[in-house]
Every structure is written in C-alpha cells, then in structure tokens.
Symmetry: C2
Subunit: 193 residues, 2 copies
Amino acid sequence: MLALRTHIENYTSTTLSDNDFALVAAAFTPKRLRRRQYLLQEGEVCKYFAFVLEGALRQYSVNNKGVEHILHFAVENWWIGDRESFVMLTPSPYNIDALEDSHLLLITHPQLQELMLTVPAMTRLVRELDQRNFIATQRRLHASFGSTAEERYAELQQQHPDFLQRFPQHMIASYLGVTAETLSRVRQKATRQ
Amino acid sequence: MLALRTHIENYTSTTLSDNDFALVAAAFTPKRLRRRQYLLQEGEVCKYFAFVLEGALRQYSVNNKGVEHILHFAVENWWIGDRESFVMLTPSPYNIDALEDSHLLLITHPQLQELMLTVPAMTRLVRELDQRNFIATQRRLHASFGSTAEERYAELQQQHPDFLQRFPQHMIASYLGVTAETLSRVRQKATRQ
DNA sequence: GAATACCCTTGACATAAGTCAAGAGTCCTG
DNA sequence: CAGGACTCTTGACTTATGTCAAGGGTATTC
C-alpha cells in the first residue's frame, strides 16, 4: 500500500496528508491473482482499474485466426485496465491476465470519481497518467510505421530491457507484432554480430 | 470563434457563462495558414496548440529514407499539435502543415495552464481530449497489429469516409502505413468486386 | 494556354515476414 | 521420476508489400 502512496506523490509532485491517504487507501480493494488468472475477459465490461503491487500482467486480444496480440505489459508500480471499457462501460475486446502470481489494488469507476472529488491529487494523477499513456502509445504507433522487426526489437532492448528478462520470447514477439519465429531469427542475427 | 464555444460545451456537457467564454476567447490567438505552410517543423518545440476553425492539417514525420509517415489529420472543430513537445518543451520529431488554406485558434502552454485555473470547464475539456486521444491512438495501435492493408483501408472507410474524399490517395496511404502503389492496388481490387 | 508539377495506375521484380513442420531442451506436475 | 506441456530454434516454402520504372491524366501557375 505504501507503494501506491509513493507512486501518487511522485507522479503529482505532491505530499499526501495522512488523511488524504486514508481516503485513497479506503477506496482500493486488495486482490491476489494466480498465474494465468484473468482480471478481465473479452466481452466483459472492465469493472476495475488495477494498480500492480507485485507481479506482472498483460493486456491482449485474440484475432479471428486465434492469434494473440499483446498490447501492454504491466509490472510493479504501474496500472492496468481497459480505459475505454472502464469509462464508457462498453464490452472490452481485450483480455487481461496474470503472467505471474500478482498482488493488485482494485478500484471501480464510481469509487475513482468520488476519490477525484475528495482528493485533488488523484485528479492530477489521472490526468498525468492519461497524458503519459497517450504519449507512449503515440510513440509506439509512430514506431510501428515502416520499422522492421529488428528495429523494434532494438528499441525494446533500450526502453524495457527488464521485459526481455522477465517474459517468454513468444510474448515479446507478440508485443512487437511479429511471430515467435521471426523474433528468434532477429535475435540470432543480432548476437551473431 | 463560436465553433470553439460549441466544441467546449459539447465535450464537457457544460454551458459556458459569457464571462467564462470571454476568458477563453481572450486566451486564443487567431491565425491563418496558407496551403503547405508549416505550423510546426521538426526540431522546433511545439509552442502552440491549435483548434481548427476551417481547413485541414496533417502531423507527419520523415524517416531516415526520406519517406513521410502521417500520424494524424485534423479538420474543422478538432485540435492539432504535438502534445509531448508542447508539455515537455522538448524538440518535436514531427512536422505539422496545412493541406488547405486554414483558419486556426492558437494557445500557448502557459496560457492554457492559466485558463484551466480560471475556467474549470477547460480542465475537463483537456482531460476529455486526452482520454479520447489515448483511446483512439490505442485503437489504431491495435489495428496496426497483423491487419492487412486491405483491412485497414476498410476500417478507414468506416471511420472517416470524409478523409477519402478530402485528401489525396498517397496521403491516405501514408496514414495507413502503406505505399501509394499498394493502396492503389487495394482499391482496384475492392471496386472490381 | 503552354509548361510544369502533382497524382494515380500498372508491370516486373525484390524482400521481409508469415506459415507449416519438425526436433531438442526445459520446466512443471501428478 | 516419467510424461506432458511449454519454449525456442531451424529449414523450406508462400505471400503481402515494397521498390523501381514508365506512362497518362489532371491541376496549377506563370
């Protein structure tokens, strides 16, 4: 729980009063997920947004040929959930599941709304996160244009070397938008040189 | 100018007081751009965010082979600017230029900050836009995964049929992340059927 | 209204990446 | 500890898309 407090303080450059933090703490519900357990399944409305205290999750979709595409990974001290479904209450096209046994803090949309009214730092946090998410997603979109599998892999090595250690290669491949075979060949070529 | 008022009211479900709107109006500077004129050039900091009253613009980058990739189009009643550069004051990797003679309303970052303090609806507007942008960008990222040029073209026909009328095909191709030749063949195949 | 730039199409060929299939190593789990 | 499920690699082949080049049409501009 302390991790959440630190996270909010860092991302909003605020020091939370104990009272404010008590309100925050009361709004979240702890939840444990075993490896492979779902937080959200395709077709459901995303009822909870989750702050990851421990573990790792992925957000992915399955196309009409049964191929999985991973859109996001989330690890300690980051958030996961389908923003669109969470806000609009529409069925989500995504699945979210745990890649490792994980420890989360959940919050519902009404609870978050309420909390944003009572704790101004939460409003700033949400705006800050939206902004960062937008920027990060735009960068990835930009990168997906005309860059080869090789370039995207090199980029990921720079940005998230930890992912390469932590997740199996076929998931990294899926995150980069290539097949496991292609990634395997890219890596072989990269290390040979 | 009225278009901006309507835009804010629609996107925040608010009715602006005349006084609030006077504050908004005072913060923006009108600007006309001729076709092909730049609003932002690669390497500059994005000093202004722009609301488009009339005309059309594009945001694009040029890769190391001199190939242009269009990230966004903006037309009447929408916004354009490089959010990351605008907020972080970092040099932008993007160009923004006018595809038609255009009429804009410009605002600087300090002016926007100020306005968000004095007119609460503006805060809500910015959050709403960030959220929509994030959702839209995430959708495009999702779509860019493993879908063919054909599928992406069909998707665009659904979402923005107006773009197809308004912009030359080689720009549509660039927006979809394919070459003009490929788009030409996709279209030929689509109409033959 | 001639000259020029821009735009779209089409063909021939090259190439990055996908698909299918097989095999070997490693980690779970009963 | 044996069997099965993952995981990664490698090879042969296919396919979508890019590249290069040429030609014709249509706007723009002087």
